[in-house]
Symmetry: C2
DNA sequence: CCTGGCACTCTTCGCACGCGAGTGCCAGAC
DNA sequence: GTCTGGCACTCGCGTGCGAAGAGTGCCAGG
């Protein structure tokens, strides 16, 4: 077990390193933080912390820098979440309130997060699976060609072409549209499959094939994984990473372009609160020298999607966590209002 | 006027520099290209080319590198567009044909362009203003709240909320929907305003306010500038830029995040063929050390949007132009089919 | 258990030096 | 006139060395 003072030393190391981006030595520490002990004592503590794997030295005779494990301890035990100041809160709210539609909300959220944290922001579109159906629309484009439009309570719209096995009359179309909506409007996506199961039976034999096709297209739309879209921004902030970029920045940019990777990354965070994944805790190799701070957000009490930021492990965790949490909260409010 | 040989020297310099990324000297030139003259002669030619501003030396006693003006001459007079090889063409077609909807087409195009050119790809969504209306749908969400859905011939779907000044009955709604579609379906966006102008007059006085509101929302949707969306990809290729990145890459990333800037950039290229803007020819400062190769694409003979790549001025122009042109052609075909 | 002192290790920086690539210019040949 | 070979010159770059500085580990004493 580490003594109280050693924890304070670790905290001081993290804070200083985050501030200066340079390895921090024992002398500098005693000067900047009132630890009440001499550098020599701090050196002993540092030796112990290094022994335990919380800090490391890039090379002999340089200061110490925190390891992933050190940051982990810092985040879990040594620092809280720094709340946003009232002016900041107002700014967030004002900025988000100007949004005109869902795309705009997401776009603004990305910009905002990137600006607040000066890091790369990632915002997932509200997921289809957890939201509810507002309306399903069917349009006839050609005798045997329909367009299915799905509108969700979060304002998201999805459309799909449906090629029918047989021509489908306007009357049948109106019938199907009405039945479909009376059954699924206002219901959660997860419940839709069982609600429409027996729908083909209500139609003439000629039309059943088309009805089934439409339904299966609808169900596909509901679960389709690639519909989990996301938006990223603030990549220019990557240039603040370090001085040794090419090697650092490249894999990160590559990872960011792989939406699948990012979605998995966000998806892994099950915590109801703000989740922090540090360095090697991220499964993806390219992100081994970055930390991901994420949180769920949603219009009601329930989270329908995630948002977060990706930055160097050497980041201001309390501030970043505060910003992420605050933005998620306000985005949730905005979604609830619309 | 420059002699034929001097032009060849310039061409050789550009080709070598693009290949090696290093300033090229007179001796190396005579060795790699059969110019039939001695290094000394080449040196004289180089002096002349430098005098005219086509090439420059980074510092005394280094080889020469082309200037923006040099690249311009190269692109205009010294090199053609390198056609894609048949296998490449097949690969492009195969890759694009798997797309399921417009978003997917655009996403695939971006990936493809980024891979082919190993540069940053930018693809603009088919512009609304030049396409035609396939269908307009009106949904009643609440007594005084409608949703307007616009479907274009390129498969794009736009939706807008409409708050009505007065409740609007289902009958009126169906009436408006039918009238609207009979007038604008299949028509070009530009023609829509005049086609719907007198529509409110066909309705009862109570409903006219709502009809007008719907119409103005529709017209807004048609012209709204922020609807000119685009998708970018391949930013990881920026890391291949040079060795001095931080300064080079940062402004480029920033510029890429400013969609407005990019749209303007693409919009400026009026040429019917492939357009190349080199270095300082780009209005935006952050892109002063990059070149933009763009071209319009469209489902019919007419261009409805642009696509292109952003890369270092030191790029393989013939190859890049060939790739951009080929991709645009195939995307056009795909759009025409759907 | 803390502290001051001391020797030791490494990195970083500045500087001088030599090498090599490349140039510009000139006199002479075709 | 144009091209060529030769030659002196310029500079950037890599190398080696020495001094400086930061930081450490260890130890003896309070």
């Amino acid at each position: 077990m580490l003594s109280e003072r050693r924890l304070q030393v670790l905290r001081a190391i993290v804070q200083d390193y985050v501030g200066t981006e340079e390895p921090v030595g024992s002398k500098a520490l005693t000067e900047r933080h009132k630890l009440g002990v001499s550098p020599a004592t701090v050196r002993n503590d540092m030796a112990a912390l290094e022994e335990e794997g919380f800090i490391a030295q890039p090379h002999t005779s340089a200061g110490r820098i925190p390891t992933d494990k050190g940051y982990r301890l810092f985040v879990d035990k040594l620092a809280g979440v720094k709340p946003m100041s009232p002016p900041e809160r107002r700014a967030i709210q004002n900025f988000l309130e100007g949004a005109v539609d869902l795309d705009d909300v997401v776009a603004r959220t990305v910009r905002l997060l990137a600006q607040l944290t000066r890091q790369v922001a990632v915002v997932q579109y509200p997921s289809l699976t957890r939201s509810t159906v507002r309306h399903v629309e069917l349009l006839s484009l050609a005798p045997a060609r329909l367009m299915l439009v799905l509108i969700t309570d979060t304002g998201r719209v999805e459309q799909r072409m449906v090629d029918c096995p047989a021509p489908f009359g306007e009357a049948s179309l109106a019938d199907l549209r009405a039945r479909l909506n009376s059954r699924v409007a206002g219901r959660r996506f997860a419940d839709v499959p069982s609600l429409v199961e027996d729908l083909p039976e209500a139609f003439e034999a000629d039309d059943r094939g088309t009805v089934s096709t439409v339904l299966s297209t609808l169900l596909e739309t509901l679960v389709e994984e690639n519909e989990e879209q996301l938006m990223i921004g603030g990549t220019a902030n990557l240039t603040r990473f370090g001085h040794d970029f090419p090697l650092t920045i490249r894999p990160v940019l590559e990872a960011l372009e792989e939406q699948v990777v990012l979605l998995k990354l966000l998806g892994e965070a099950k915590d109801p609160g703000v989740t922090v994944r540090i360095g090697h805790e991220n499964a993806h190799e390219g992100l081994n020298s970055t930390s991901v701070v994420s949180v769920g957000y949603g219009s009601g009490g329930e989270a329908v999607a995630k948002l977060g930021v990706v930055g160097p492990t050497r980041m201001d965790y309390p501030g970043t966590m505060g910003a992420v949490r605050a933005v998620a909260r306000y985005v949730g409010q905005i979604l609830a209002e619309s």
